[in-house]
Point group: C2
Chain length 668, copies 2
């Protein structure tokens, strides 16, 4: 009988064996049998088994994911408390593949009671419920590192946290009970810690340091470039220490926490919000729980939905919500405020790309930034950059650098929306190779994308790739198309300028020579050739020059209120000199625009500009008589040497065909 | 004061305002302030916000994901109860983008008490805790569809379940309270339902039927091909009905539930298992909680770890576990039993590929199957297939068809380990185009991969791509390399055969002509040319022919015990006729092998084979005298017309260079 049972349980596990008077019989497995197996799965257990979903699929990746989660957490904590981040990362590795990871920040620390939850429990945190741009959003990251450490080494994590300057730090040693998704505090102690406040996480993990080494360095370096306000110190196992210096004393403008935007919000979310609102009237509900909903927009939406302003949102029917939901789409609602997003900005994008291409002297770096947009009620913004030419490799696929909320994304490029967006553009029109006009092009270029959002739609909890949300894909495409157009424009402008310069050189060299010789032969004074040259040239010639001047950096104290850009004044001053020569036969009078990076601060400018906007300076240039010239100078602070290395000039109120060195101003 | 507060909360949300005697002051945000925001995130809330992680990132995908989760669930339920699946899928779509999805199975049903949990709660189910190959593994799929439906339409899901033939079905209408991750039962009723048992799920979702239409059809078709035991009926919104017929009355061999395998198990999992075991001795613990651990292996492992057999696993230290964990790697442990995996098999892979290339007449279809392997203690097996040539498009990337546990994967190809494995092979050596020897090649080919495992490491909960686990990547690479080698071999064999045939044709056509003419001229009888032809040909010539004969299908009853392949006997009989001619000058005697699909059943075979193995038939061919021939015939059942369309023949005990039409037998 025994044999029978064993054989059977292998070949037909869909059946069960029932004892009866006649012996054992086979019976079909029923819903009742299955019900016995149906049970809850703890989220920690789920991720313990599916650790690859969290980015711990192999030992190289596990190392980078761990460093990344630790550093992201530290940066978020500091920024949340308006502290300039000082991050310390140390890796100690042992022969047997065990790595000890130490990550320390100078953030506000974590209160004792919350330590077990923050570090020893998945899906717990402060950033999930706030609509605000931050690196961590899921309440999974750092506790996942602790979980992975425990799973692979069986060792406990050690968390040191100091929350007040005049009190000792608390050291907590913890494990995770995965069946319950709760931390077990193994030991607790207090120690003296020199830092005013901060958090230190020590976790032992199984990781491949040898293979991961390069990626950790790359990740920290990229992070440092797009987070110039952070100081990152990295100590390698062999004792080598790398310091990625803080290059800006100003915290980036802190993204504001916002309300959901009515565009793209799901019907279910709308119903849920209404269920939990404190407002008793539909109009108040819309005005208080949503962003961009002023009186007028609210009333229009309610009207279009055929609803009453005074309706109690709590007793509204599904049909009424549906009508309101549909009405949102028919009303023009202001885009969400840019305040909630913190883009990297043109300067840092250029700086990143420049860093990647040092000693390669690429032909040009072009950036493009899209206005903020919304998907499923979440604001987001796309910025892209492109380097071309120089000594970049002509063979092989274009390199793509991806960032999300100022975090470099290193893996899963193939599964990222930015890849599919780039792949869908026919790059052959822009001088790159591409098999049948699809896929990542090949050629001497690097592409960079940054997406900032209050909720980055990562394809998984490992936060390595962005999901193919149509709105995002579209914005990335638009940004790259704009970039590509700028490239074409840039090349066109360059070609035109080179041609005119050749003509100009010829005229200004040969004509005076002829004049001199003729005058000598005729024994007459050398005539003035200005008028003649002007007649031949027949253009307004604009040339420019950029210089960098180092000024002593004042020690800057970050105060609470003045978190403005005035701290930028130390460091490098970028001086731009523009020369305008009128080689036309008639006097010329026009407006000149110089486009400047949004994050630059305009210092002295001469002549006095008629307008200094966020991203340009405008001058009303007074009449320039034929063969006369005028100089325009301005200074920019807040940039590093090389950040601004080419003027982008535009003219207005003059036929653009008359001008070399500037294009028609199309409006800002 | 009000204005100040508002302005401030926008520009410096890292600060807070404190009332004092002197008025309001600004204070730094501390850990105490942050602690107020730190809270638990319900898993339903998490996925509601991150619905793209579950495969609901856009409306096209949402449709396919919903159908897929419903159908996978139905198939799993039926197979678990040994019922031949009958799946009904219906989509009704409305102008406004709302789709009503109805998915019905004839499985065992779900007991009333469990319905709210199974369908209205994420991370709940029966398949997570069992190590067994199944489609669903996460306890997320079907409840995610309900969640998405609620989120986008605000409507409740309706579940009908019948668990006993002589009782009515229970209809449950439910919603999900996402804050708690619990179902709310809105209404409950009983109805008459003609089915003996089964489950019917009705969910309204916002989806893009127009774009998704094609994918749903493709998904159901592919599913039907690799699950020939399932009958799938699909009713489109316009009333069109597609029936994907059941073509096999036999359930696939049901994968057995197994214990974890010691290779690749994480230290943490080992410790956890020991903590919860009922065994009091280390040796018993190893033998009862792990697969492939017999007495000898257990003892060797314990010895190598320097531990005692009688040690209580509950009181072992971390160091002792570590020693044991390390010892596992030093001991040769049998691979996990194949019983726990249910590969698709060569025949179904060929059939899938043939279906995709109908009317294209590709040059050949080659498959390759790897032996089972292990990653992190989870057994897995890789099978691949390749179609080449014919009218397949020569431009554009090779098409890749991916399957996991018999489920077609439609999205996230770029993020899948199969893609990176294929990309890392230099396909230029095998006649395909590939930019710098990397990436998905271009050319007239289709690749197919199937991975079966007790735990498919999907990159996310949407189960669309497989994570880059090194062990899996390696197996996929090996499988494709083997495939590629077979391709080369195939081409080589073909070329050789064509050449010899030309020679043969020439000889057998021209020599007799000359002989006839000469005989006529000399008025002598026409001589026998066999000896001459033999001398010139100097080979053993093997030719074969395949015929299909339709036989009337007996109505088959699936019984509980006889879930064997005998049910296959109805349907098509594949007849293979092999002709062997000895064109050598000496008598020949050798062994012949015909490779057959593992899932085919050998019927009559003449002469009598000396061996019928799982995947080949062997004959000891008796002496064939020069210019004599011998016929070898065999029949196969259990295949459809075209499944077996070419003999793969091998010879033994004869110089392979003498033989055309068969290769050297390298052993099985």
């Amino acid at each position: 009988m025994n044999t029978f049972i064993i054989t059977f349980s292998i070949t037909a596990p869909g059946c069960k064996i029932l004892p009866t008077k006649e012996g054992y019989i086979l019976a079909k497995v029923t819903a009742y049998d299955l019900a016995k197996k149906q049970k809850e799965i703890s989220v920690a257990e789920f991720f313990e088994r599916n650790k690859h979903i969290l980015g711990f699929g192999n030992q190289t990746r596990a190392l980078i994911t761990s460093v990344k989660e630790g550093v992201d957490n530290g940066l978020d904590a500091c920024e949340e408390a308006n502290i300039l981040p000082d991050i310390y990362v140390e890796i100690k590795n042992r022969e047997d593949g065990e790595c000890k990871l130490i990550i320390e920040d100078n953030g506000p620390g974590v209160v004792k009671k919350q330590i077990p939850h923050i570090f020893g429990r998945l899906l717990y945190g402060s950033r999930f419920h706030a609509i605000r741009q931050s690196r961590g959003q899921q309440g999974i990251g750092i506790s996942a590192v602790v979980l992975y450490g425990q799973l692979t080494t069986g060792k406990h994590a050690k968390i040191t946290s100091k929350v007040e300057e005049d009190r000792p730090a608390v050291v907590t040693e913890l494990a995770i009970d995965t069946n319950k998704n709760r931390a077990e505090v193994i030991a607790r102690d207090t120690v003296h810690w020199a830092k005013p406040t901060g958090t230190r996480v020590e976790v032992s993990i199984i990781a491949d340091y040898k293979r991961g080494k390069r990626f950790v360095y790359d990740y920290l370096q990229s992070t440092s470039i797009v987070n110039p306000h952070a100081q990152i110190t990295y100590k390698e196992p062999d004792g080598a220490k790398h310091i990625f210096e803080r290059t800006s004393e100003a915290l980036p403008r802190k993204p504001a926490e916002i309300k959901p935007h009515p565009y793209g919000i799901e019907l279910g979310t709308l119903i849920k919000l209404a269920k939990h609102t404190k407002s008793r009237k539909l109009s108040t509900f819309l005005k208080t729980e949503f962003s961009s909903m002023g009186d007028r927009t609210t009333n229009t939406a309610i009207d279009k939905a055929n609803l009453e302003k005074n309706l109690d949102p709590k007793i509204m029917t599904r049909e009424q919500f549906l009508a309101l939901h549909k009405a949102f789409k028919k009303v023009k609602i202001m885009a969400p405020s840019t305040d909630c997003l913190s883009p990297i900005g043109e300067t840092l994008i250029k700086r990143s790309l420049k860093y990647e291409t040092q000693e390669i002297s690429p032909e040009f770096i072009i950036t493009s930034s899209r206005p903020p947009s919304v998907y499923s009620g979440n604001p987001f913004q796309v910025e892209v950059g492109l380097v071309y030419g120089g000594n970049l490799p002509r063979e092989g696929a274009v390199r793509v650098m991806r960032f999300a909320n100022r975090v470099p994304l290193l893996y899963q490029q193939g599964g990222c929306v930015t890849t599919s967006a780039i792949s869908s553009i026919d790059w052959r029109r822009y001088g790159l190779d591409q098999t049948s006009g699809k896929g990542i092009p090949t050629g001497p270029a690097i592409f960079l994308t940054h997406i900032s959002s209050t909720l980055i739609p990562y394809t998984s909890e490992s936060k390595e790739a962005i999901a193919d949300i149509p709105e995002i894909e579209n914005e990335v495409k638009l940004a790259f198309r704009e970039c590509a157009r700028k490239v074409q424009h840039h090349i066109h402008k360059k070609v035109r300028r080179v041609k005119t310069r050749e003509k100009f050189d010829l005229i200004t060299r040969i004509l005076p020579e002829i004049a001199k010789k003729s005058a000598y032969m005729l024994d007459k004074p050398v005539p003035s050739l200005d008028a003649v040259i002007t007649k031949i040239m027949d253009v307004v010639w604009i040339e420019d020059l950029i210089e960098y001047v180092k000024v002593s950096r004042k020690p800057v104290q970050t105060t609470l209120i003045e978190e403005s850009s005035q701290d930028h004044e130390g460091g490098t001053i970028t001086k731009s000199k523009i020369m305008i020569v009128n080689y036309k036969c008639t006097p010329q009078k026009f407006n000149l625009y110089a486009v400047i990076p949004e994050d630059a601060i305009v210092g002295t400018a001469y002549p006095k500009p008629s307008k200094i906007a966020n991203n340009y300076i405008k001058w009303n240039i007074g009449t320039i008589h034929p063969a006369n010239k005028i100089d325009v100078n301005f200074e920019l602070a807040g940039l590093e040497k090389g950040d601004f290395d080419e003027n982008d000039l535009y003219i207005e109120n003059i036929n653009p065909a008359y001008v070399i060195g500037a294009d028609k101003w199309e409006g800002d």
